[in-house]
Symmetry: C2
Subunit: 254 residues, 2 copies
């Protein structure tokens, strides 16, 4: 395990649990020696990615992370382009809408607008969605680079509910169906009682870079609703791609 991997796993731990963590707890959770853990944290602090409370000695994520994320957004304005579309979709459907972006680890939820209804689906910002168990993931895979799709089909497919797709063949079928349809339909694969409809967001090269999804409680989703949502979600996904890269296919990021 490389040193940078260790350092970043500490960031993940700091981000995952309580807002602040003690050295001993971090070391235990990460499986590193206390001394090692501390030296990694010191390095991260010097770079502004971690902060330490002067008095309690507790560690927390630092503002340097916000800075890096803002610099990225300045270079590739995914949120700036997508947010208005997500808002429109949320207003049009009245259900929870979430937006995600591809990362090595899965689809990262980068924006959520929750339905105003009492019975609604809740997704956490920053959550990583598994490719095989969510509508977003399947919509993504349907238009993803071959290499990525194969990687998921070949890898493990852990079950999150009794409805999670567990074998590669079925998953491949769902992906193919989503590709034909232009959007995917997720039925309780990640969370019970939740139906989702998702569409890919395509990059300049025509391959997926993310997904947009509408999620609603199962009780509120009739077949006709699903079909109606499918159409407008697909349009929303395409709209985001066009805002990001222009209407001309094959064009590169500015």
């Amino acid at each position: 395990m490389s040193t940078v991997a260790k350092a970043i796993s500490l960031l993940e731990l700091l981000g995952g649990g309580a807002p602040e963590a003690a050295l001993a707890d971090l070391a235990r959770a990460a499986g590193f020696d206390k001394a090692t853990t501390r030296r990694l944290l010191v390095s991260l602090i010097a770079q502004g990615l971690v902060e330490q409370d002067e008095t309690t000695r507790l560690y927390r994520l630092g503002a340097g992370l916000t800075r890096l994320a803002l610099m990225r957004e300045a270079q590739f304005p995914f949120l700036r382009m997508a947010v208005p579309v997500v808002e429109m979709l949320a207003a049009e459907t009245g259900e929870t809408v979430h937006l995600s972006e591809y990362s090595k680890r899965g689809l990262i939820t980068v924006q959520v607008i929750e339905s105003a209804k009492a019975n609604r689906v809740s997704v956490q910002l920053g959550d990583v969605l598994p490719m095989h168990a969510t509508a977003s993931g399947i919509a993504f895979l349907a238009f993803a680079e071959e290499r990525i799709r194969q990687g998921i089909l070949a890898g493990p497919l852990p079950a999150f509910t009794p409805f999670t797709i567990g074998d590669a063949a079925t998953l491949a079928d769902h992906v193919a169906a989503a590709r034909a349809r232009g959007h995917s339909i997720g039925a309780q694969g990640f969370e019970e009682g939740v139906m989702s409809v998702a569409a890919p967001i395509l990059g300049a090269d025509g391959y997926s870079i993310g997904a947009i999804a509408v999620a609603a409680p199962r009780v509120r989703t009739q077949k006709a609703d699903i079909e109606r949502l499918g159409v407008i979600v697909t349009a929303a996904g395409r709209e985001i791609g066009e805002r990001l890269f222009g209407r001309l296919p094959g064009q590169k990021r500015a």
Copy 2:
């Protein structure tokens, strides 16, 4: 130089220049060997902090950074609490307003609302503001922990304009005046022709954690304007602190 410091310096380089960079350019800019640079990048890619274009082989910042920043925001909702106040202040003043957060390297600009006027001040999101040369920095220092203030006074004070405060004694005077007033007044210390008024945002322990500032072209700022702005900026800064930590002093982050 620790390995993590090297890796993070690559992230800074990727964020600083063009949206995408080639290996050779990165290695040259960072001063690392080509092989070293590549291995660091591979580690960062495995963690999702960097992405590589499959065909062009160019590197760019990855979505994992957004994820970490979102997790931080979930733990410490600085933007969520501050943005409405910034918006109100922008509406009330009609000038550019920007919000910054303390980091080891300086004050990080985390939100900006630009004035609608044609002649307006422009600040970049993610920019790092020098403590000694900006109204925000001096407002921050006025209520910062003693150790941080001393560090700045002892350190170098590079000049950005002919108006930048260059010696520690003058800087200390300005900081003391800001402390007495509750807000700072910046006169072209960072950019010529720009006047700013800034107030600190105080943490649970009463020390600064950031700053909020109004920036306007010098031609539009009479003495009376400055005084008026000072009052409302100070109130905005206090409002943000209260939203974050509640009105009770000495209370810790949830």
